[in-house]
Symmetry: C2
Subunit: 198 residues, 2 copies
DNA sequence: CTAATATTCGACCCACAGTTCGAATAATCG
DNA sequence: CGATTATTCGAACTGTGGGTCGAATATTAG
C-alpha cells in the first residue's frame, strides 16, 4: 500500500460509506431518539452488517455525534456569509432566521434532528462535544446582534436574553411545531418577527 | 375485612403511597426522561423497595402515564374557570397563558415535565392515553379563542394555525428556554404577547 | 499467482434494567 | 389469640441491545 492514488480512492470510499451509515442513522434517530434507536435497525436501514458499523464508528454515540457535527457544519457554512455581512443588526438577524427556515424546508428530517435531538442528549460531559461549538457560535452571534440592535434602537429595550428566548421560541414554534406537513414561508417568518419586534 | 371505615382508610393510604411514588418518580423522570430513569432509582428516591412499586403500578410506563395524567388534571382544574369565563377571546387567551406561567413558577419541575416529556414519549399507540385528552382539550380551547378573536378583530387576520404555532412557540420559549434559573414574570409574558398580536 | 491487508458480517458475549418470586413482616378480622 | 389477608422487599429471572470475535471474502501489493 504505497500507491498514493489508491489510498485516496480508499479513503474516499471510506468516507462515502460513513455517509451512507449516517444517512441511515438519521432516519432511525429522527423519530426514535438516541435511546430508542437500535444499532441493529440502523445497520438494516443503511444496508450494512451490524459489525461493519463498528468498523467505521467506535460506538453508537459516535454515530450520533458525527451526525450532529455533520449537520451543524453544513448549517454553519450556509449561515457564515450572512453573519459576517454588513447589514444592520436587525436585518442580519432576520436574514439568518429566514435562511435557517429555508434550509429546514430543504431537508426537514436533518434539521428537525439537529434542533430537537440535542435536548434529549445533552447529558453531563457531552456538553463539550464538537458540534456544540457550532451551536454556541450561532447562539453567540444572534445574541450579539440583539445587543447591537438594542443599542441602535432597532429592537425593543428589553433584556437581550429575554428577547433571545422570545425569538427563539417563536421561530421554533413556527418552523417545527405542528404536524409539520405545512412548510412555513419566509414571508410569514418575517411578518411574525417584525410584529414581535415592533 | 367487612369494615367499611377501615376499607376507606386503607384505600386512602394506598392513594397516599401512590402519591409518594409519583413524587419520587417526577424528580427522576424530570432530568432523565422515560428511558433514562431507572426503576431502582425511582424506588430509592421515593423510599420504597423496588418490588413495592410493582405492587402499586403495573409497569414503568404506567407510572409515567399516571404522572402525566395527574399533572394535566390539576392543570386543567386551574384553567377551566378561566376558559369558561365571559371575557373577550383575546383577554381570555392571555389570561390562560399567564395562568400557566404562574403555575410553572409554582412547581417548575412538574410543569417542565408536563410540557417536555410528551414529545419524547408520544410513540404510536400512546396517542390515546388518558392525559392526552386534556392536552387536546387545552389545544382546542386556545384554537377556538384564536378563531373567535380573529373574527372580532382582536387578532391579526392570519391562519389560526399559524398564530397558534407562533404563540405556542413564543410562550414555550419565554417560560422554558434557557437555564431556567430566572422565572418569567406575568408582565413580561403579557408584553410579548401583546407585541406579537399587534 | 500468492501473500498480505482491508472489509464484511452473523453469531456470540455480557451488562443492565424491567419484571416477577417467594418469603418475611404487619395489619385486620372473628 | 390464631387465621387470613395486605404489604414490603431483596434476590433471582429474563429479554434486550450495545459491543466483540473469528472466520469468510474481497482487494491490493509485489
Amino acid at each position: 500500500m504505497t500507491n498514493t492514488a489508491t489510498m485516496n480512492r480508499k479513503s474516499a470510499e471510506r468516507a462515502a460509506r460513513q455517509e451512507l451509515i449516517l444517512q441511515g442513522a438519521l432516519t432511525v434517530f429522527k423519530d426514535k431518539g438516541l435511546e430508542g434507536a437500535k444499532i441493529d435497525e440502523i445497520a438494516r436501514v443503511s444496508g450494512f452488517g451490524k459489525a461493519t458499523l463498528y468498523y467505521y464508528f467506535t460506538s453508537k454515540e459516535e454515530i450520533f455525534s458525527a451526525l450532529l457535527l455533520h449537520g451543524w457544519r453544513s448549517l454553519w457554512r450556509e449561515l457564515e456569509e450572512i453573519a459576517v455581512g454588513s447589514d444592520s443588526p436587525r436585518a442580519t438577524f432576520i436574514s439568518l432566521l429566514k435562511k435557517i427556515a429555508e434550509l429546514v424546508n430543504t431537508d426537514r428530517p436533518l434539521y428537525e434532528f439537529l434542533f430537537q435531538a440535542p435536548q434529549s442528549y445533552t447529558r453531563e460531559e457531552n456538553e463539550r462535544s464538537e458540534w456544540k461549538a457550532y451551536q454556541n457560535r450561532l447562539y453567540k452571534v444572534l445574541m450579539e446582534l440583539i445587543e447591537e440592535g438594542i443599542q441602535q434602537g432597532e429592537f425593543p429595550k428589553l433584556e437581550p436574553r429575554l428577547i433571545m428566548k422570545a425569538m427563539g421560541g417563536l421561530f421554533h414554534g413556527l418552523v417545527f411545531l405542528g404536524k409539520d406537513r405545512d412548510t412555513i414561508t419566509e414571508n410569514e417568518i418575517e411578518e411574525m418577527l417584525s410584529n414581535l419586534l415592533g
